[in-house]
């Protein structure tokens, strides 16, 4: 039987980083991935003369060499920053909400953001300044927490990061309410909520403020070769460090040790048995505990059952035979909502019939050369907050896809004034079925477990230790302790990879 110190299951963003961390820690590591490409959602695909980004809207907290964000520092540590060619996203976002007749375009840079907000909402400045003060304190508190591996001293926390602790148990809406932020300013500031997939009554303020700060403070970046470039760079690094990578290879079973119930090995889809005492699973606990283990601790079953799947993904990709100026596509990324009330909006995102939300990106606005001269690319993403796609039968599938695609195009044209019809040269549509197919996620979920009030970022981080119940089994990716999103998934791989190195060292 082949033997490895650790096996990483899934070459998604979390798995790729975990594998590098394991190798850097001296562990002999095998990475297995059921698809023929690394990256999971972080990939690209060709259609005609276009290469579409599969999922990344913008990578936050990367920054520049002299204003490095946490993600850049992580990539520096992994040894991949220079393998990737980056471009900067020009502006934060444009949010359009019909019910409130809201149409605001927000810049990167904290001061510029506050100033622009004051322009849209006179009198908003004090509360928005307070928001960024809190957000910055959250960043510092999180940095402290990371530096002590989550084992924070509560007295130190209260004395140094008192506001962090005092606002830490509240939702976005509760905190903004306490800051007395004018409603319109809240509506503009909350636009990013769909990036985290929980509405602002549920979403932890710490989590949201932390993300907004990561975007606004340092801007956002995009690899020129799409996210596929990041995924290949990480894979390259794994091979440089002597790691083994197998694509088209699914891990189907985890073998457990009879004595302690911990990890003893992994069985691959062709029956190959790998001996290992450590697994980092870059997939849903629902899959691991649902079908990959014979004996599952009851606490794990209860915990998984208690949690809620987040949004199921849907993305339409268009390659257009006219450039963005000609089509009237003015911005890089758009949030189009029926209403800026995220609670009401979340409710309307349950069904295929009702959901009209979209987060739309025109990559050419950040990187004009990403498609041939005289063309541009757009991708439109939404989330379904229920399993409605489970009701769609195979024979109705293509018509359902087209129904949503047409709605998205109409909505974009109506809300922004752009003209896309008559210029669509290529179209591709990814649905929950597509995400289920490529990444294996239950129901086509793309954001892991939802950031519900009780299951938000803070308690997940604080409970990392006790959530680790099966010896030798740790998780990375959107279902893990950092929740979903590119940077979060990378960090989860960093944490679980380093923790597993520690586990291995302690075993001697």
């Amino acid at each position: 039987m082949r033997k490895y110190d650790a096996v990483v299951i899934g070459a998604g963003n979390g798995g790729l980083v975990a594998a590098i961390r394991l190798l850097q820690g001296g562990a002999k590591t095998l990475l297995v991935e059921k698809h023929n490409l690394p990256g999971g959602f972080a990939t690209s695909f060709r259609r005609g003369r276009f290469e579409f980004e599969a999922s990344l809207h913008e990578l936050n907290d990367f920054g520049t060499a002299d204003n490095a964000g946490d993600v850049r520092e992580l990539f520096d540590g992994l040894g991949v920053t220079d393998k990737i060619e980056w471009t900067q996203i020009p502006e934060a976002y444009r949010v359009i909400a019909r019910a409130e007749k809201l149409d605001a375009t927000m810049p990167f840079g904290v001061q510029a953001f506050i100033d622009k907000m004051e322009g849209y909402v006179p009198g908003s400045r004090p509360s928005v300044e307070k928001f960024f003060d809190l957000a910055e304190e959250i960043r510092l508190a999180q940095a402290y927490s990371s530096s002590v591996n989550g084992k924070t001293d509560s007295k130190y926390m209260v004395s140094h990061y008192g506001n962090f602790v005092r606002c830490g148990s509240y939702s976005v809406n509760e905190v903004l309410d306490s800051l007395k932020m004018p409603k319109k300013a809240r509506d503009i500031l909350n636009a990013y909520w769909c990036y985290l997939g929980a509405h602002c009554d549920d979403l932890s303020f710490l989590h949201y403020a932390s993300m907004v700060n990561r975007y606004i403070k340092r801007g956002a970046s995009m690899p020129k070769g799409r996210s596929h470039e990041i995924s290949l760079a990480l894979t390259e690094r794994i091979r440089e460090l002597g790691g083994d990578v197998l694509f088209n290879t699914e891990a189907v079973k985890l073998l457990t040790d009879e004595k302690d119930g911990g990890i003893a090995g992994v069985v691959l889809d062709d029956g190959t048995r790998i001996e290992t005492r450590h697994v980092v699973a870059n997939c849903a606990p629902h899959l691991v505990f649902g079908k990959m283990m014979d004996k599952v601790p009851e606490a794990e079953v209860r915990a998984a059952n208690a949690r809620k799947f987040s949004g199921r993904g849907f993305t339409m990709f268009l390659g257009l035979d006219a450039d963005a100026d000609e089509l009237g596509v003015e911005n890089h990324n758009y949030f189009l909502y029926d209403t800026a009330d995220s609670v009401a909006q979340y409710g309307r995102m349950r069904t295929i019939a009702e959901n009209e939300v979209q987060a739309t990106v025109c990559l050419n606005r950040a990187y004009p050369e990403c498609s041939p001269k005289g063309t541009c690319m757009l991708y439109f993403t939404t989330l379904y907050m229920s399993d409605d796609w489970g009701n769609v039968k195979a024979e109705d599938y293509y018509k359902t896809k087209d129904f949503v695609a047409n709605k998205m195009i109409d909505r974009f044209e109506q809300d922004t004034g752009a003209k896309l019809r008559g210029h669509i040269e290529e179209i591709s549509v990814a649905t929950p079925m597509t995400y289920a197919r490529y990444c294996g996620h239950p129901q086509g979920v793309i954001y892991g477990y939802e950031s519900q009030y009780w299951d938000g970022l803070m308690p997940r981080l604080q409970m990392m230790g006790e959530d680790h119940k099966v010896r030798g089994l740790r998780f990375a990716g959107g279902y893990a302790m950092r929740l979903s999103g590119y940077s979060s998934a990378y960090f989860s791989g960093d944490i679980s990879g380093r923790q597993t190195v520690g586990d291995i060292k302690r075993e001697g």
Partner: protein
């Protein structure tokens, strides 16, 4: 810090609330049901019908269509679904080689839900020759995932399709004609079907029987003049004679037909978005024979195999009996995506790889000819 955040009347209550987050979550997780977690989910099950992956298929019927064309009907392991116009790979072991080829599906999408699928094959090469001469009812083959975008895409395509078919290129259109007749596809199709002689027309009887308001067929014979048939090649004048208004042209046939049709369609002023062309398999290249050595890593194993410089890397792998991914055989689908460790190669036709693939040395073996000894990491099939 310029201000102190406070939400409750007394600040310490905010602190207490923070402290309760962990016990609260602990409690919630413990309250979850102890019922076993699901083994699968509805969306994932539907995804398996849309994308069954490799499956076995038993040959149930062979029908001779013309002197050099047969239709093979299979019963598949699983029900599946596809878009009319798509292809699947059909493969099996022939001698010591693992061989597969993509073939357009000639049956209707609905039939696949009942586990029946037909492929129409023209005898023209190694694998089709094997099928013609050796395959018999009861044989079991491996069928790949339904693939390709040679389909009507209602969001962007015109409501009227103009099909240009040459020879066995009629197969996807026969599937479409059935899909239009049974309501699966909602568009009109005028099919221009070119062949040398009437005797070479595949599915003529079947196509004639499907003619309706929405489906028309015009036969174009190049080597015969006959009443009821157009004579010559499928050109702009012929299209104008039968079609008016906006349309999307779909081309499926040999390279020579594309070369001719490209000019004709250009004269009609059709933009790129109104033209779809089904890709043809990469063939051999016309250079003097030369043998190179390929060092191939698959899974935990390493193989050394010879490669003829005139054939693609994929063909060399298959000749050596290695089970490797193969699908479109035209460089476009990326299914055979492999890492090049060392060596040089030439891409046949347009390079359809991703930007980062070129940068990090990934190739598509199905469209790459070896120009030196090569070392590759190839995923298993």
């Amino acid at each position: 810090m310029a201000f102190t955040f406070k939400r409750q009347i007394f600040g310490f209550m905010d602190l207490l609330r923070f402290k309760k987050m962990v016990p609260k979550r602990r409690e919630k997780l413990a309250e979850g049901s102890s019922a076993p977690l699901p083994k699968t989910y509805r969306v994932n099950e539907t995804a398996k019908i849309l994308h069954p992956g490799y499956q076995s298929a038993k040959l149930t019927r062979i029908e001779q269509n013309t002197a050099d064309t047969k239709t093979y009907t299979f019963e598949t392991e699983h029900p599946f679904y596809f878009r009319a116009g798509q292809y699947v790979t059909l493969g099996c072991k022939v001698g010591e080689s693992e061989v597969s080829r993509p073939y357009a599906i000639s049956s209707a999408p609905k039939a696949a839900l009942g586990r029946r699928v037909s492929l129409t094959v023209k005898k023209c090469g190694f694998f089709s020759g094997y099928l013609f001469d050796e395959a018999k009812v009861g044989d079991v083959f491996t069928l790949g995932d339904p693939s390709g975008d040679f389909c009507h895409e209602p969001v962007k395509d015109a409501e009227q399709l103009v099909g240009l078919a040459g020879g066995s290129g009629v197969t996807p259109f026969y599937s479409m004609a059935q899909a239009i007749a049974d309501g699966t596809m909602d568009c009109a199709l005028t099919l221009f079907y070119g062949a040398k002689t009437e005797a070479e027309l595949i599915f003529k009887k079947e196509l004639d029987a499907l003619v309706s308001e929405k489906f028309k067929v015009v036969y174009v014979l190049s080597d015969e003049e006959k009443a009821g048939y157009e004579h010559g090649f499928i050109g702009a004048d012929l299209i104008k004679k039968y079609v008016s208004g906006d349309f999307t042209a779909m081309l499926c046939g040999p390279a020579a037909m594309y070369a001719f049709a490209d000019k004709e369609l250009a004269s009609l002023g059709l933009p790129l978005r109104r033209i779809k062309k089904e890709a043809n398999c990469v063939g051999v290249r016309d250079i003097p024979p030369q043998t190179y050595t390929l060092t191939v890593h698959i899974g935990f194993d390493t193989y050394t195999v010879p490669a003829d410089a005139r054939e693609t890397v994929l063909t060399a792998l298959e000749r050596a009996g290695l089970k490797v991914p193969a699908k479109c055989r035209a460089g476009g689908c990326g299914f055979c995506h492999s890492k090049l460790v060392s060596g040089s190669f030439l891409v046949a036709g347009a390079d359809k790889r991703r930007i980062a693939d070129k940068k990090f040395g990934y190739i598509h073996p199905c469209c790459s000819y070896p120009d030196s000894d090569m070392e590759l990491i190839v995923p298993k099939a």
